[in-house]
């Protein structure tokens, strides 16, 4: 809890770090589509080559990148088991009640868990090379067209930026309450799973009360300063796309097209 888990921003000056956050989000969508569209060995080879190249270009330290993947092995195992045991298929070699272990299930399990892992690495490349504030500014600009269907995009952006500013405070508050509960006998570090799980429940109510108290104070302060809504808010800094951004977008769109239309 004291430090943010792997996947957080790591400062740097690589090509990926310097790309506009809007470009990186759009490129992530293109590459995610390429991963989901991969259905042959060649398709996966292309995606793996692109990810390997991106890791090299990002010049990120290896340890945090590997640590982030290690953190989801439970999750990958659950996904694999769910597909392997519930996919069904003809002539399953083994079955126990509703569980059926089939060859197709195992293949599907590997495919889905592999896709999750590849998309996880791509997502991490975005979050490790982009500041959360840059991401929210980019999201705000990407959701601007929603204004035409009546979505108050400025208010959405303000709410998200307040949420980001609240995260360190909430983490501190949670840690403090956790310490207080330990002093009262809560066993967060217990080796017994049930005991450890039960100790987290009394943590939730005080965390929410403390968080809502802070929200109350902030809302009162904002209203006292005359804040009503975020309409007509201006920005000091404008970040236009550079030729590098257009190049990255064109390459990612091309990879996506190759995956869907040229590869088997």
């Amino acid at each position: 809890m004291r430090t943010l888990p792997a996947g957080q921003y790591i400062p740097g000056h690589s090509f990926l770090h310097q790309l506009n956050a809007r470009t990186k989000i759009l490129c992530l969508f293109f590459l995610m589509a390429a991963v989901i569209g991969a259905s042959s060995l060649w398709g996966y080879a292309l995606v793996l080559a692109v990810i390997f190249l991106l890791i090299l270009v990002s010049r990120l330290p290896v340890r945090p990148a590997v640590a982030s993947v290690r953190g989801i092995y439970w999750f990958l195992l659950v996904i694999f088991m769910m597909n392997a045991l519930f996919f069904g298929g003809e002539d399953p070699p083994a079955s126990w009640g509703i569980f059926q272990l089939s060859r197709e299930g195992i293949r599907q399990g590997f495919k889905v868990a592999g896709n999750v892992l590849l998309i996880f690495i791509l997502g991490n490349l975005l979050t490790m090379t982009t500041l959360p504030t840059q991401v929210t500014t980019a999201l705000e600009s990407l959701i601007k067209p929603l204004k035409f269907i009546g979505v108050p995009t400025e208010d959405v952006a303000i709410i998200i930026s307040i949420a980001i500013q609240f995260i360190p405070t909430l983490m501190e508050e949670t840690e403090l309450i956790k310490m207080a509960q330990i002093a009262r006998g809560a066993r967060f570090e217990s080796k017994k799973l049930l005991e450890r799980a039960a100790s987290f429940i009394p943590l939730v109510v005080p965390v929410f009360i403390a968080a809502f108290r802070r929200a109350d104070e902030v809302a009162l302060a904002m209203e006292a300063r005359g804040y009503r809504n975020a309409k007509n808010r201006t920005r000091q800094k404008k970040e236009p796309l550079t030729p590098c951004d257009y190049f990255a977008l064109a390459v990612c769109a091309f990879i996506c097209l190759v995956q869907f239309f040229l590869l088997p």
Partner: protein, 184 residues
């Protein structure tokens, strides 16, 4: 019932989005705790109940998205069905809580919660079956993933959320839904 101001609803939603990032981090100390206890669902359901459907919807969309961007969890590949599920939780809990008025706070809360939990799971399952994993998703996988695998989370949500709403009302952090009559 006194209405909560637009600014306060915005800030409460922001806090709930922040809690969508912080709470799962605490629960990840338990192996597979994020999936078992679904801690991210609690702030989204609360945002819907307290601030209304539009804020609940926003919390359901922005909470998991921000958590992925900041902590890497849930992984990007698992994000789309989760966005659908949580958005429906926020939307339905807010809508039903605004429509249902039984004059009993706990009855209103439980009706809204159960409706939201069911709707979210059904819509997310339908989205996976029709869009995200079209053709490779079965009813058994849905039952295992959304009911059997998450029953501790469902129990925690049904116990904690009404208690939380009641505690927040007692602490005067949100207005009472049914104010007591004089002399009562």
């Amino acid at each position: 019932m006194v209405e909560i101001s637009y600014v306060k609803r915005s800030v409460i939603t922001a806090v709930c989005i922040g809690l969508c990032v912080v709470l799962p981090m605490a629960f990840h100390a338990i192996p597979n705790g994020g999936r078992l206890f679904s801690p991210m669902h609690i702030p989204v359901l609360l945002a819907g109940l307290i601030c209304g459907w539009s804020f609940g919807l926003l919390c359901g969309l922005a909470g998991p998205l921000l958590s992925t961007l900041i902590t890497g969890m849930p992984p990007v590949a698992y994000l789309p069905p989760m966005l659908v599920e949580l958005a429906v939780y926020g939307l339905v809990s807010g809508l039903i809580f605004a429509l249902v008025r039984t004059k009993k706070l706990y009855a209103d809360l439980y009706i809204s919660l159960v409706a939201a939990l069911l709707a979210g799971r059904i819509v997310a399952g339908a989205a996976i079956a029709l869009i995200f994993s079209a053709g490779s998703y079965s009813l058994a996988a849905w039952t295992a993933g959304y009911l059997v695998g998450t029953w501790p989370g469902i129990v925690v949500q049904l116990v904690l959320i009404p208690a939380l709403v009641s505690a927040l009302m007692k602490a005067k952090l949100i207005p009472e839904r049914y104010s007591a009559l004089p002399g009562e």
